[in-house]
């Protein structure tokens, strides 16, 4: 049974602006809204929402790359894992000050928000900024 399943899973990370990453990986851990999902080859087909957090790419049992995503969707098939993220940047490029500034700006926006949509946007922005800070601080998620 084991040899009928491919050894690698095709991981694709797409942001609206471009295709961020497309490579074969051993495993990828995606922060879904109801808990992190580790995608190995042969995973059950699944569609889920992604919360702001860090995607870890595992090669041979080690994390080779961590990418921060600000939420989106993931589509998993046995051979493939496609992550549609609104925003994606390498964790190395994250910066505490900018994340903090974003958080403050978002909090201000929430105070000023009048419509439900504006409120929703501001809340999403706060969650993103908090997740960024968490990713930097090596918080409980990592």
């Amino acid at each position: 049974m084991a040899d009928t399943i491919a050894e690698k899973v095709e991981f694709e990370l797409v942001s609206p602006e471009r295709l961020v990453k497309s490579q074969s990986v051993c495993m990828v851990v995606v922060p879904c809204s109801e808990g992190d999902i580790g995608v190995l080859p042969g995973h059950t087909p699944l569609i889920g929402t992604v919360r702001p957090g860090v995607v870890d790419i595992h090669e041979n049992g080690k994390v080779t790359e961590s990418i921060f995503v600000s939420g989106g969707f993931v589509e998993v098939t046995p051979e493939r894992c496609t992550l549609l993220a609104e925003e994606a940047l390498s964790v190395d490029l994250l910066n505490r000050d900018t994340a903090q500034a974003r958080l403050e700006a978002a909090e201000k926006a929430l105070e000023k928000a009048e419509t439900d949509i504006e409120k929703g946007n501001a809340e999403a922005e706060i969650a993103t900024a908090e997740a960024m800070i968490m990713a930097l601080g090596g918080g409980p998620a990592h």
Binding site: P16, E17, L19, E34, L46, I47, G48, T49, E75, L84
Partner: protein
């Protein structure tokens, strides 16, 4: 016989026009490449989004109580038309063809007794439609795409506005009209429906997916529930569609401007040639008549 000095001035001015148009052509070519790259790399996202959405909508089809963005309001009395044009002119028939199509659509819908609302993206669209449909324009968005190109947040700002109006019950259906980029020479005026959601190639897609992907599609697990995912995904899809339209439109704009400026440069060249010929002819004529005057003057002595 035209005045020599006037001709000279005329030639100089056409020459400087040619310089301007050829510079504009260069700028448009450089921008075109960037816009084209952006449009093409964004296609990946919207295509995948469409696949996910289609498999979701497929599993929802025929069921009652789907989200309104998918099912519509059940009426089609009021229509919102989002028109994508450029902010600036000098790009050939780019804006004209969009506006012509939009005008046609509006007339068709009005003659069916529907109300039409307009949301213009790009200054030219609202300028050109203001005269006839000024009262129908709900908003005009200008200044899309700064130095860094078009950003996704600019698209979501527009799509949020659309969602907000939809939720307030201001319209029942919504479609966008924009120039789809084919090549620098050709842009295709495209109309596509945003609300309620329809996948364009619904039928062919399900036809050729039935063999391979049919079972797979049914087997998807959803986390969280399908309806919850749809509720987030549909507004997001609006944003993506608007973004894609903006990118296509901007690539088309630069393509159209490049072609228009190329033509203008060539025409200016032709004009300079013609004027130079006239200039030389009249110069020679002037010399000849002067000579005749001198010779006949000498003979008279």
């Amino acid at each position: 016989m035209p005045n020599l000095k006037d001709l000279k001035n005329r030639i100089d001015s056409v020459k400087s026009t040619r310089k301007i148009t050829s510079a504009m052509k260069m700028v448009a070519a450089a921008k075109l490449r960037r816009a084209q790259d952006a449009a093409e790399s964004a296609r990946a996202y919207s295509e995948r989004m469409e696949t996910v959405l289609r498999s979701l909508a497929g599993s929802f089809a025929g069921r009652e109580g789907g989200p309104k963005l998918l099912a519509g309001t059940g009426a089609d009395q009021a229509h919102l038309l989002v028109v994508f044009t450029s902010d600036r002119g000098l790009c050939g028939g780019f804006n004209g063809s969009i506006v012509r199509e939009a005008r046609q659509l509006i007339h068709d819908m009005k003659s069916e007794g529907k109300t039409v609302k307009l949301l213009c993206v790009g200054r030219k669209g609202s300028d050109l439609l203001k005269g006839e449909f000024g009262g129908d324009i709900v908003d005009a968005v200008t200044g899309i795409g700064g130095k860094k190109g078009i950003e996704f947040s600019e698209a979501t700002a527009v799509s949020d506005k659309i969602t907000e109006m939809f939720e307030a019950g201001e319209f029942d259906t919504c479609s966008i009209i924009f120039n789809k980029f084919q090549s620098a020479m050709t842009q295709i005026v495209t109309t596509s429906q945003l609300i309620p959601f329809t996948s364009e190639e619904d039928e062919d897609a399900s036809a050729d997916k039935d063999g391979a992907g049919g079972e797979l599609k049914a087997a998807y697990e959803f986390e969280p529930e399908e309806s919850e995912i749809l509720e987030v995904l549909l507004p997001k899809n609006l944003g993506v569609q608007v973004f894609q339209a903006m990118l296509e439109s901007s690539a088309s704009e630069h393509g159209a401007r490049m072609t228009a400026m190329d033509n203008a440069t060539r025409n200016a060249g032709d004009m300079i040639d013609k004027l130079t010929l006239t200039y030389n002819r009249s110069r020679q004529a002037a010399i000849t008549s002067e000579l005749i005057e001198i010779i006949s003057g000498a003979e008279a002595l």
